[in-house]
């Protein structure tokens, strides 16, 4: 067929660059983030939200949410949930903390063992989901409660209290702190967790959009049966995604441990919904098969801005939760409105 016919063929519609950009899943989240940023700049009583000082503070909150939110987003694109991601942060921190303070293990081997432990929990989550065929919501909910009990029980058994402390006396603590909990770019004080967050987002986005494995994630989340029929290793993909979620939760647990020099048995409980919210705000569908890692990071940025922005606005802290809920609702609304408008198949 000659190009003359192709050029005049009305079946091949050409969309403008603008529309193609607006169709991307993260655009709605970006619009929402801009609205939230402008809003908190307007109600800021301290004058520091807009500058680099304010940015150093909210990017820190965003980073500790975002590292896991990116993993949870990949998992949600793959069609599964992980409700144990929040408590896993606490479990990993406690695991490393107990090794360091109770068994006097040097810090770096303790950290390595913690990542192995987290990968095993993720493997267990994934294996249970694919073998039993139960919804991952239920399986990981059971894991959440189990880990919560283990956190309390084991900590009390070994230390008689509900927190581990004296982590800073471990051998190798200073170097581990420099890698996981350092501060950069004084006098603003950006935390190194932000670098971890950005790097992991870039890697996750590259995997999702440029590699075969990324295609498998979309396929498995979109239509598991069709994916299996075309030769995608569905079970292996899901298990790898669960393992990645647990290990990124472990990373945040280690970062917290290095930062706080201690870990309490209840740390992280309740965060699992924040991760899912960040992923959904970023464009992930609850049904799977669609979404983006950058979107989840933008969602985490919104959450970070809201936390610090509410503090800087001097609002009565009693209303903070209501404001957070409203802000997230507006962000998701903006996201879905823009998504619907631009993905309607029109030019």
């Amino acid at each position: 067929m000659s190009t003359a016919i192709a050029a005049g063929d009305e079946r091949l519609a050409r969309s403008s660059t603008f529309v193609r950009v607006m169709r991307r899943p993260e655009i709605g989240a970006l619009m929402g983030a801009i609205v939230v940023y402008v809003f908190f700049s307007a109600v800021d009583t301290t004058g520091t939200f807009v500058g680099l000082n304010g940015a150093a503070r909210w990017t820190d909150v965003a980073a500790t949410t975002g590292i896991v939110a990116v993993a949870v987003a990949l998992l949600m694109i793959g069609g599964e949930f992980d409700l144990s991601a929040g408590v896993m942060v606490g479990t990993s921190g406690l695991f490393a903390g107990l090794l360091i303070s109770e068994y006097n293990m040097p810090v770096w081997p303790a950290i390595a063992l913690t990542f192995v432990f987290a990968a095993c929990i993720g493997l267990l989550n994934g294996w249970l989901v694919v073998k039993t065929g139960l919804p991952s919501f239920i399986v990981t909910l059971a894991m959440f409660f189990s880990l919560r009990g283990v956190n309390l029980g084991v900590t009390k058994l070994l230390t008689d209290t509900v927190r581990v402390a004296d982590i800073d006396e471990g051998e190798g603590f200073e170097s581990a702190r420099a890698v996981f909990a350092a501060e950069l770019w004084q006098p603003y004080g950006f935390k190194v967790a932000v670098i971890w967050w950005v790097v992991l987002t870039v890697i996750a986005t590259w995997v999702l959009t440029r590699t075969k494995f990324g295609n498998w994630i979309f396929a498995v989340g979109g239509d598991k049966l069709a994916a299996r029929n075309t030769g995608v290793p569905v079970n292996r993909t899901k298990i790898v995604l669960f393992m990645y979620t647990s290990t990124s939760a472990a990373l945040v647990g280690i970062i917290s441990l290095m930062r706080l020099r201690s870990m309490q048995a209840g740390q992280g409980v309740g965060e699992e919904f924040v991760f899912i919210i960040a992923a959904v705000v970023g464009g992930c569908l609850l049904t799977g098969g669609y979404g983006s890692a950058i979107g989840a990071s933008i969602g985490s940025a919104i959450i970070g801005m809201a936390f610090i922005g509410i503090a800087y606005a001097g609002w009565n802290t009693d209303w903070s939760w209501l404001f957070l809920g409203l802000i997230l609702f507006v962000a998701v609304l903006t996201n879905s409105v823009i998504g619907k408008r631009f993905s309607g198949g029109r030019k």
């Binding site: 301290t46 004058g47 201690s262 606005a313 404001f323």
Partner: protein, 329 residues
Amino acid sequence: MRVSKVAVVIAAASALVLAGCSSDSGDTAADSGTAAADTSNADMKICMVTHGDGGGFWSVAKAGAVKAGEDLGVTFDYQESNNDAEAQAQLIEADVSGGCDAIAVSAPNPDAIKDAMAKAEAAGIPLVTMNSGSQVFKELGAFTHVGQDEIIAGREAGTKFKEAGATKVLCPIQEQNNIGLQERCDGAKETFGNVENLQLSAGLADLAKSQAEIQAKLESDPSIDAVFALNADIATAAALPAAQATGRDIMIGTVDLSGDAVQAIADGDIMFAIDQQQYAQGYLSVALLYLNLLNGHELGGGLPMYTGPGFVVQDNATLVQELATNGTR
């Protein structure tokens, strides 16, 4: 584009409404006390970051601090982290960047906020600790601590139980990460001896569950004849109903007050309440920081300043009752 316009209007409207709400609540420090307060101090910003949960205890402490802010005419900002140590550290750091001239913090988990406090100290911001952290305030860079020594409070409670003739005391701990609560039980153990701790899983967030846990423990161990509750709501909503359900004669002592607790003391259901006078903890923290900003005073002499333990028993209950119901005791 109809749908997008509606979304924009909703977003703009809510932004305006919420901005309106914020300007009301943010200016109370300067506006409300026009007759008595000297608003020329409004350029002093004193901030407080606690681990509070907005419940009966912390709302009284906050009320004291807000009152001090109004009386002194300073700008006062209060943030609480709901027992999340990481959030408390992040809020302290936000306050350091956010133009606070002086900061008061509670330190139930001193390791977690060590770095944030070091940042505040490096920025030349005067610090006090309040409520928790009487043993560690110097390490954190504060010049004094305003509160109650938890070990002393525990010891006094143990002595009271001993005088009343109890044989075994149960000590339910409602917050996971608060060393102060642990210290109260330890103090009671020093003077009383036979004290058993019980870690509550939900604490103040789920009082019905706390009641069930205490009741289960009381029923499984008939030798327990006294409960040392560490919070007024735990005492009235969990420990007291649990004790009544077992049908045994169980003495109850508690720490901190509430309207219900003082009523129960007046009625004879609760034996005593240790009053750490948290309204004064809030008030004094702000006043101490104000004096430091105004005139460079570092009060306390390097030692903690005690707001308790005071004891509320049946004899003095009616005096305190009205104040507790009003939310200032």
